[in-house]
Amino acid sequence: MSYSEKVLDHYNNPKNVGTLDKSKSTVGTGLVGAPACGDVMRLQIEVDPATQLITDARFKTFGCGSAIASSSLATEWLKGKTVEEAVQIDNMDIVEELSLPPVKIHCSVLAEDAIRAAVNDYRKKNGLPELTFEESAAN
């Protein structure tokens, strides 16, 4: 199986690798996947409380190239979006952007899950009810 140019580019030059201070109330952290399954993603967002804009996004991922690329792409897309817009990101958008083959769709699902988990962590910290999501079709 060969990788698309975009996957290779994110793998070779990942955007926004890193760690935000998870103790801050403005930071939401999503940790999804499992070591036993071969992929774990941690995605973090920093939110401006006044505007609800995501001012920073960081990731660290244990997984294959497609998992790394999916999370790298997700952080790029998150920056500048509002929290509300962030949860609209659909895994199939990631699949399309990175030209992921069917066997790698679960990587995009994981990225979608990580975004939602990070948003809910932020909401929880700020006394807001957690959002519930319909199960993704590919999950």
């Binding site: 990788y3 793998y11 990942p14 690798v17 760690t19 940790l31 999804v32 996947g33 499992a34 070591p35 036993a36 399954c37 071969g38 992929d39 774990v40 993603m41 941690r42 660290k60 991922t61 244990f62 997984g63 294959c64 190239g65 998992a67 790394i68 066997v103 679960h106 699902v109 994981l110 999950n139």
Partner: protein
């Protein structure tokens, strides 16, 4: 001069030795006859070439030429041995003993035979990848017709104690079959000294061409009976019908002759290179050798790099360095290597494994390059790994409630 790309997947397949190709070439054009044609010199010349190759192959494993059945490869030989013995010995019993770490050619054939009424016992291996001889002996019943245990494992390189195993099978009057695709041509294999009754092996794992292999079938003490699985012209003493792949067989013979001459020296050279590679990589934090250090093939090693995932790791260097991983992501199944799991590795370590298979054309500069490329990628991916960060922060990953998907 460093030769790129570096090929360290010699357990998957090896390149043909140029001397093998040279030996084969005339048999595509000038000497193209059907070895079964008895009425003209084209056929005679082809038959003569096959006879000579059969001697070369038999000699390498200490067999008689009449005991070598040419096949399309080890998979076909495994199928013929297992199915052929199961049918031929049906009146004696239906029980076959094998191991959890066999190649799929044996495991899937056993699954097939289970549907035909066979009872199969799958022996476990210990953390080193070795079977328990007492467990083997205890598994033998009056119904047991065959023990099928691989000579050396394709993922870890661990060598089974075949002589000890055959002592047991002989004592109980049970046949011993071994898939020796990874061992023949790499380490001394002798069917008489080792007490083997049936043995599958393949040319392309030992610098010969793809599409040709052999099944060794013992003719004396005991004489092994086999029911053919392909009907037709009655080639190969009726055990494997089908026009012989003359160029392939000639190449296989040449590969065996070269192995006979060069195996010992080559094994020593590759063991030194392997040890250099392994020592350097195991110096990285949280890396683990998989399988027995003592009982294994000289040219391979299997290492887990904890907190990085195998396919992601390979992607860091696969333009210039070819090797394989036990990670699920390299297969469609999403299950990590069943062999490594049988050794007791957790899924996480199985996902993090790389198999390094050195070969005749591997040199020291390539090993130095490999050490540097793998080390750099492991370090880079660990900086990107949330698990590595947690480990470094002293978080016990087992205490986290992971959502398995």
């Amino acid at each position: 001069m460093l030769k790129l790309p570096v090929y360290l997947d010699n357990n998957a397949t090896t390149p043909c030795d140029p001397r093998v190709v040279e030996a084969m070439l005339p048999y595509f054009t000038e000497v193209f006859g059907n070895a079964a044609s008895r009425t003209h010199p084209f056929g005679w010349a082809a038959e003569e070439a096959v006879d000579y190759a059969r001697e070369q192959v038999a000699k390498l494993v200490g067999a008689d030429t009449k005991e070598i059945i040419f096949t399309s490869g080890a998979t076909e030989a495994d199928n013929l041995a297992l199915k052929g013995v199961f049918e031929a010995y049906a009146s004696k019993g239906n029980h076959i003993i094998t191991t959890e770490i066999e190649h799929k050619a044996v495991l899937d054939t056993c699954r097939h035979l289970e549907k035909q009424g066979a009872a199969i016992s799958y022996l476990k291996v210990n953390h080193e990848g070795l079977i328990d001889l007492k467990a083997l002996e205890a598994a033998i019943t009056p119904q047991t017709i065959l023990v099928a245990i691989m000579y050396a494992n394709n993922e870890t390189g661990v060598i089974n104690p075949i002589r000890d195993i055959s002592n047991i099978t002989r004592r109980h009057g049970v046949l011993l079959m071994t898939d020796a695709a990874q061992a023949v041509g790499k380490i001394p294999v002798d069917v008489n000294r080792d007490g083997i009754d049936l043995m599958a092996f393949s040319a392309h794992k030992m610098y010969g061409p793809k599409g040709v292999g052999a099944l060794y079938v013992r003719r004396k003490s005991p004489r092994v009976k086999l029911i053919a699985q392909a009907d037709g012209g009655g080639h190969e003493r009726g055990m494997r019908s089908g026009t012989l792949n003359v160029p392939g067989i000639v190449g296989f013979g040449k590969a065996c002759e070269l192995a006979m001459q060069e195996m010992e020296e080559e094994g020593k050279r590759l063991a030194l290179l392997r040890d250099k590679l392994e020592k350097a990589l195991l110096q990285l934090e949280e890396t683990y050798l998989n399988g027995s250090r003592e009982h294994r093939l000289p040219h391979m090693t299997n290492i887990s790099f904890k907190y990085v995932e195998g396919e992601g790791l390979i992607m860091g260097f696969n333009k210039n360095l070819a090797l394989s991983s036990g990670s699920a992501c390299t297969s469609a199944s999403l299950e990590p290597s069943y062999v490594l799991k049988a050794l007791g590795l957790g899924d996480d370590l199985a996902h993090s494994s790389l198999r390094f298979g050195l070969g005749r054309f591997t040199d020291e500069e390539q090993i130095d390059y490999t050490i540097q490329a793998v080390t750099a990628t492991v370090n880079k991916l660990r900086e990107m790994s949330p698990l590595w960060e947690m480990y470094k922060d002293g978080v016990d990953l087992d205490t986290i409630a992971w959502a398995h998907h």
